[in-house]
Amino acid sequence: MRKPKEQRLQGIAISRGIAIGHPFYYTFCEIEERARNILPAQVSIEIGRYQNAVSRTSHDLHQLLDRLILDNVNEGVDILETHLEILHDPSLNTRVKLKIESNLQNAEFVFQEVIHEYQQKFASLNPFFRERFNDIQDVSQRILSYLHEHLRISFSDFPAGSIVFVKDLTASHAAEAEQVNILGFVTELGGITSHAAIVAKAKGIPYVSNISFSDLNLSEIRTVILDGRTGEVILNPTQKTLRMFEELAFKMEEQMRALKLDCSLPVVTLDGHFVELSANIEMVSELDMVHEHGGAGVGLFRSEYMFLPNHSIPSEEEQFVIYRQLVEKMQGLPIVMRAFDIGGDKLMRGSSRHELNPFLGCRAIRFLLKERQIFKSQLRAILRASIYGEVSILFPMVSCLSELMEAKQILREAQEELRVLHRQFKSDIRIGCMVEVPSAAIIADLLACECDFLSIGTNDLVQYALAVDRDNLSLGQLYNPADPSVVRLIKMVIIGASKQNVPVSVCGEVAADPRFIPLLLGLGVRELSVTSRFLPIVKNTVRKTSIVEAEKLAAKALKLSTSKEIQAILDEAYQCAFPEDPLYSYVY
């Protein structure tokens, strides 16, 4: 057979690392089903195929359900129970069977038609009920994939060594992926800070987006190399290329292993300054890795993620159970719980409101101040859990002082209510304020007067400072945390907070990028919070940085006028300090 030629494609690097494997094309059953006429004698075969697909889907859902119950994700359990009811819906199933009989057509075509009918009916409902169609679609995709034998639905049973090509990656699919099977992701769509990207990064699965599939001759691709550092995807590499990347991948693994050995070492710079290095988490289950990698605590618990895929906000009791479990598992280490950051790209379906401009609309603290009952029940749950450990509360996306004052007032009311009910709680809980809107950075000194700590969320800060949608790929170059405006804003926050002696932590993606660590330390940051996977590499970087040098670097960066220049000096400094790091120091 003719050997296909090596082909190199350039995409956007989303999650670092190198993957070498075989392609696996995954479609979310978007293909139009083709009608196939059947004979009356085949009706029972088609109905049997449909029933088989339903029972296999049911098996899948029950398995997922068991896993969620085990992990205590109660709200996820609710969703799956709904999905099971949809799956066994008598009207749906009767309709499909009758239509196979009357139209004499194949099961997948008939099923898709029936789903389209539902879609039209739901489309005429009010927006809140209209969105419920998403659940139907979710279930129907699983059924359809079982009707097509060649399509598989669960990311966890892909063949070993797969590099998954999928149009767009969902966060839940990324979460489902097992690293034994799935080595990397290649997508057509999806931005650097999308939720799928965050999950892929947390799991350490290399990911490149913005690769067009239409020009690919899929059947000719045998081997794929994915370079999640540069965004390069190499199809059918030559022996020489393959060997080079295999060596690189091996070196990276070695490095990771070596870094993990240093987990018990203190996080201290060359010249003796201590840095508090904590972890960002979304789930209770992530805590094991935090402890394993020697995290000083949790610097950011994104509370909404536990409940995000669900239909409504959990009750105070439900939240309390989860928070308490979380706090107890901290084993005395501090944890910062951020109040629900709902709205924007994280829409709680139960409260869906359609806004023209959700990122500039009613999200996070604005939403919470409007929906006081939701806010208060969360605050009460956190307050009650606080007696089991070291808990702080963080208010998301504060953009002016009055929002912080109002949030504090509601916190006092929540405390008062608990007092009346004779519930135990810590009355002197620390409160913090997220700085992710430029206005908050500018008035950091005022905010610092009214809270105990500030936490800079760089992902949103970059987005709001530059007015760039972080997932808009055509603007990819504009979204750059090394932009002079962002560096100045961070400096402004540090100066404002230091006037009040209030500590500042950085918890965005930037904190997990070792090339930015010297700059952040040089600007005066002494607390960092990163996805647990990055704790070892960040710790290593801190330990090899001296504050004196870092301050020089920061002073230099503050004088530069473009993001390109700043990025260049950061890269250069990093390459000088860590020439051996294959993950971030590379020359082509």
Partner: protein
């Protein structure tokens, strides 16, 4: 003895009869042998079908006519009435 009971119930859930209450109804009715229908405005649907209930799109305070016909109609009506009043366990 087969009975036929009719009752008018009001939805007290803030979001109306959305997914979670609809799931509760369907799960509850799995044990019921009688036929159960919900009528809202002019539509009458099988109350054992979650999709049909969702398509009624009943908001807060919407009034539903519940009809139950069969051997266990009486206990079924009791269960359904309690569930509506309890907001299907929601706050």
């Amino acid at each position: 003895m087969a009975e036929k009971l009719v009752s008018k119930l009001q939805v007290k859930n803030k979001m109306g009869l959305h997914t979670r209450p609809a799931t509760s109804i369907v799960k509850l009715l799995q044990k019921v042998k009688s036929d159960v229908t919900f009528t809202y405005k002019k539509d009458t649907v099988n109350a054992k079908s979650i999709l049909s209930i969702l398509m009624l799109a009943v908001p807060l305070n919407g009034k539903i006519t519940v009809m139950i016909e069969g051997d266990d109609a009486e206990t079924a009506m009791e269960m359904v009435t309690t569930a509506f009043n309890d907001r299907f366990g929601e706050k």
